[in-house]
Structures are given as C-alpha cells and as structure tokens.
Amino acid sequence: MTQRTTRRHVGWALIDLLVVAYALVPVLWIVSLSLKSNETMTDGRFFPRDPTLRHYVDILNDGAFLRPLLNSIGIALISTVIAVVIGGLAAYAIARLEFPGRKTLVGAALLIAIFPQIALVTPLFRIEIALGLFDTWPGLILPYVTFALPLAIYALAAFFRELPRELEKAALMDGATPFQAFRYVIVPLAMPGVVTTSILVFIFCWNDFLFAISLTSTTASRTVPAALAFFTGSSQFEDPTGSIAAAAVVITIPIVLFVLFFQRRIVAGLTSGAVKG
C-alpha cells in the first residue's frame, strides 16, 4: 500500500516539476535580466555573470514607480470588486431567470468584449476630458469595470449554470426568497467560479496598458504597465532593460500573493449532502 502511495507521490511530483518548469523558465530569464548589470545585459547568457540588485534599488527609490504601484493596487482592487459584484448579480439573472432583454444584454456584453479597444480610446479620452475624469482613479476604474464585465458575466453565468437547479428550489421550498436563495445557497457553492473570475479580472486590470497610457497624464493615476513606458535608459536609443525587468518582477508579486491567498478557495466539488433531497 505505502509503496503505491509513494509511487503516486513521486509521479505527481514529477508532473508538478514539469508544470513549474513550463511556467518559470521564461520568468527566470526575466529575473536574470533584472539582475544583470547594464554592461553585461547583452552578453547572451542565461545567468548573469555578476548579479546586482541595482535595478531593484533604483526603482524602489523612485517615486515614479512607487506611486504607480499604489495606483495599480488601488485601481485594480476596486475595479475587481465592483466588476465581480455587479457582474455576479447580472450573471445570476442571466443564468437562472427569464426576462425580456436577456439576449440583448448578453449580446451587448459580447460586443463590448469583442470591440477593439484601440478604436474606443480616443472617444473615451475626449469624454473623460469633458467630464474632468482624465488622469483620475475613477477615470480608469470606470473603463476597467466596463471592459471586465463581459468576462465576469459570462464566466459567472457559466458557473451558476453548472449548479443544479434543485438547490435553489429546495431553498425556495424551505421558505427563502429568491435573493436569499442566491446569497446563502448559490454564492457559497459558486465560490470557485467567483474566485476564478476575480483573479482573471484583477489580472486584466493590473496588466492593462492601453487605457492606462491613454487616460492618464501624471503619476496621479498612472499605473505600472504604463509607467514602464516612461523609464529611461542611459540614452534615447537604449532601453532600460534591467529596470523594466525588475519592475516587472516587482509588480508580479502582488498577483502571486493574490492568487496564493485565493487559490485555496477553489475547493473541490459539492458535498453529496447538498444535492440530495
């Protein structure tokens, strides 16, 4: 018995190693670039010859990186919460209820997901200037929520649909209102889907470049991906590769933490008790 278990453990460990290698080899290359000194940046080697932490020190001491980091965290968190909440409400309605305009809403969401954002940036820019939202947090939060809603709605609707209707019916028969059924029965069971959607929406807001560079002007609201475009090298023609790589590593850390914390919530399946009766 123990021999088989050990074999299984070893087997899974090997598979895990493959996954880690797949995910991390390019990441290691970026980390390596962030540790290479400017002089050895282009020496073509995978590992730095004389690693240095200079790039990290440079960017962490620079207000032009730290303020954008703060902006990124705040804007992405707020956008994610709003998008998942209102997306979840709409998704439940779409998945479970019949109402006029259901198809239109779904179609409109898809249209927004599909439309190339590059064509929408200039009109959005003009609107925000007119409304005084240019270069502010709401100025980014509003588009982020809007363009994250389609994914949130579709994903959450799909996960709600996977849950059997008997659950709500059971709750309704026990005297709960539809909203109580939703809040206390469906939502806890749909946690894997909610968490997944939150992670994906967060990453979308966190890594967006187009809106960040077009709808901001100063570090008041500029986020990190846009801030990378403003890093300077030693001359006009030299890219600050080390600083950019270091910045990329630094801004991936919150995502790693976010995921590490939430991935526990993607728990395995329904317990049998919830389904019967």
């Binding site: 002089e39 207000g63 006009q236």
Partner: protein, 416 residues
C-alpha cells in the same frame, strides 16, 4: 489575532508610500507646460531657465513615453483635443511638417524667428521650417557615423563598396566581419535608406513633398542596399536590428563596422571599456567615390502648442531651453550634438567630444527626412516595401516604392 500584524504592516506600508510619493509644491503664477520625453541631465537646464524667468513664469515638465511613437501618440491625441496646458512641446524632427499643417503648433515670426535661426547649422535648420515659415526651434541634432575597429580595419573605408569588400575579406579570414546596420522594419531603416538615396543625389519625395520622386537613383540606392544585405557584412539578424542590437553586435565583438548614432561612444565606455582602445569613428561612407555622403539628421525641436495661453512666454522659454550655454551643458553631459555652429569650435566641447569635427562636417551636407505632413505614412510604407532587405529587386522594388509612396501621400488604401 491574525489581523493585527496585517494591519500594522499595512499602516507602515501606507506611511512609507505616503512619504515617498508626497506631492511636489504647486507653483503659483503662470505655469508653462513642457511636454517632452525624459532626457538625462535635463532637470538642470529646466532649473536654469526657471531661475532666468525670475518668477514671471515657471516651466513644468510633463514627461512623455520613452519611444518616439509613444510620444507622438500622446501629443497628437491631446493637441487634437485642443489641450491648453501644452505650451511647449518637444518634437522629433520628422513631425514638424505634420504638426504645422494640422495647425497644432504656432509659427514663429519677426524677431523671434530671427533669434531662432541664428547660427544654426544647415542640417538642423532644415528641420525647423515648413513652407518657408519657422515652426520649431532645434534643441539638438544627430547624425550617424561609421564606427569601426582599428584592430580589424587599419584604414577605414571611404565608400560603401570598399566597406563591403573589407567585410568579405574579414569573413574569409574568419574574423568578426559584420557591418552593424539598423535594418529592422522601422524608422531606422528609412533613415539608413534615405542617407543612401540622398548620397546618390536622389530623393524620396519631390521638393514640395507632394509627389514621389522615385527614379534611377532610387534604383541605384536599392541595388546597394541589396548588395549589402546579401553580402558577408550583413548579419543574419539585420532584419530585426534596431539601434540597440547594432550597438550590441559591436560591443560583443561580432561587428567590424557599425553605422549608428554617436551615443555608442559613451555606451562603449561603460559597457566594454576594454574595446575602447580599438574603437574608432569616421565619416559615413560615401556611395559615390569623391562625393561625401549626405547623412540623414535626427534630433529634437521645440515648438509652441497652438492652444497655449501664453505663446510669447513659451517662445521666450524655448529660446532659453535651447540657448548656447544649455546646449553646451547637454552636449557635455548627455552627449547630444549641438545645433549652433559656433559651439563646434568651443575648446571645452572639442576636448570632451572627439567626434565633434566629423559631426559638424556631416551636418554641413546633412539632409532631413522627406518633409511632408504625411511623413508617418511614407515612412511606414517605405520600411515595409524595403523589408526583407535580401529580397529587394532594384527595378521592381523601385516601381513598388513609387506606387506605395504616392498612395501614402494621398492617404489612399491601407497602411501595412
């Protein structure tokens, strides 16, 4: 229990972030917005000009992205939206015609205009005007030089054909032989091709910039480019080489020659000081023996935003930002070539900047890129037609260039 460490960490983080990101004091009085990419050492120039303004106005810099396309995107979007805060804009020399024609920058007249053009070298001067009116003031300029290794090339080549022959013999001897050239499908390729074409006496566009001027000299330039691309001197990666890659090819010892801007001098001192002993420069190789090459200029010009509320003050500020003293400071520290003819005789600059004479020489014959409001279209199209370099067929490619440039000038069809 678990919450407390979390909260205190957050509080600490928050206060640290607050101190680091504290807002700068807001200046009162008139504020001139300067929109420009961030140049090293430029803060000093800014401080000097603000001191000179003595309270009448303060210049505040808003930095633009590092890459030229990103800068143009920001400037165009905001000027088209009639941004009033854009008093001074830093423009790449190729945008002047476009911005002037669109009415996004103001013309200079009278005494200001005289002050702007005074003592300017012909190369930079050509970038400052559009349809005989001054629209911008040159802050710095740039020309490419031929860089080579004295240990491999005792006598630098005078012409391209000589250079190709030298590269071939170096290759046969198994030594580093690449001619580092910016051959990727982007603006750098257009710069290089423009140099070759103008050196043959030809030109991409007619004098008034409204028609394609492709003729047999274009065919000659294309033939040379094709000869280069299929020779031993061309690296296999030339089709993806920007300035940084060309620079790396030289610094890492693969190239014997390099055609690049003067920034590589200071870069080599930092990145590979051991090679400085054998790192030398000379004039850009000619295409016709005896006739010096006509090199394409780069550089930065300042202009006044059309919706600025203080155009007079903006002009004054611009003349200060690019004054003789400030240009000298920038050349000494940031390494950008100056635009004043008199500065080229300055002993301090001569001592610190050994390439000054060669650069001045080339600036006397330098040419701007084709001046037309549709330059972006033309450039996109030219670099697309020329790529990949190895597959150029001089006659056929020239015909294609002719057609596409004409389409680009009339905004007809799609840009690739």
């Amino acid at each position: 229990m678990k919450r407390r460490p979390c909260v205190s960490v957050l509080v600490l983080l928050g206060s640290w972030l607050a101190t680091i990101t504290a807002c700068a004091p807001v200046p009162d009085g008139i504020v001139l917005g300067l929109y420009k990419y961030q140049e090293n050492y430029f803060d000093e120039v800014l401080a000097r000009c603000n001191a000179e303004a003595a309270g009448r106005y303060t210049i505040e810099q808003h930095i633009l992205p590092r890459d030229a396309d990103g800068q143009r995107e920001q400037l165009v979007r905001r000027l088209a939206a009639r941004d009033q805060t854009m008093d001074i804009v830093g423009l790449d020399v190729t945008w002047i015609a476009e911005f002037a024609e669109a009415g996004w920058i103001l013309p200079w007249t009278g005494a200001d205009s005289m002050a702007a053009v005074e003592d300017m070298l012909p190369g930079p001067l050509a970038t400052m005007t559009w349809q005989d009116t001054v629209f911008a003031v040159a802050a710095n300029t740039n020309v490419q030089l031929l860089w080579y290794r004295t240990d491999l090339v005792p006598e630098p080549p005078q012409t391209w054909d000589e250079m190709l022959v030298m590269a071939d013999s170096l290759a046969a001897a198994g030594k580093p032989h690449v001619i580092a050239f910016t051959g990727a499908q982007y603006e750098g390729l257009v710069v290089g091709f423009n140099t070759l074409l103008e050196s043959y006496g030809g030109s991409l566009l007619s004098e008034d910039g409204t028609e394609s001027a492709v003729d047999e000299r274009t065919v000659q330039a294309l033939a040379l480019l094709q000869r280069f691309a299929t020779s031993a001197g061309a690296s296999p990666a030339v089709g993806n080489a920007h300035e940084a890659e060309a620079q790396a090819q030289m610094e890492n010892g693969y190239a014997a020659f390099q055609l690049n801007w003067p920034y590589v001098w200071a870069a080599m001192q930092v990145n590979n000081p051991a090679m400085m002993d054998v790192f030398a420069f000379t004039h850009y190789p000619a295409v016709v023996p005896g006739r010096p090459a006509r090199v394409t200029t780069g550089g930065l010009d300042y202009a006044v935003g059309a919706y600025s509320r203080y155009p007079e003050l903006a002009r004054e500020a611009i003349l200060c930002l690019r004054s003789r003293e400030n240009q000298k400071f920038m050349t000494l520290n940031a390494g950008t070539p100056p635009t004043f003819r008199s500065l080229y005789d300055d002993p301090e600059l001569q001592a610190a900047y050994p390439m000054l004479d060669v650069i001045q020489d080339q600036l006397e014959h330098a040419v701007p890129r084709p001046r037309t409001p549709f330059y972006q279209n033309v450039s996109t199209v030219v670099s697309h037609v020329l790529s990949p370099l190895r597959q150029i067929e001089p006659e056929a490619t020239a015909r294609e260039l002719d057609e596409r440039i004409q389409d680009a000038l009339e905004s007809r069809g799609l840009l690739p």
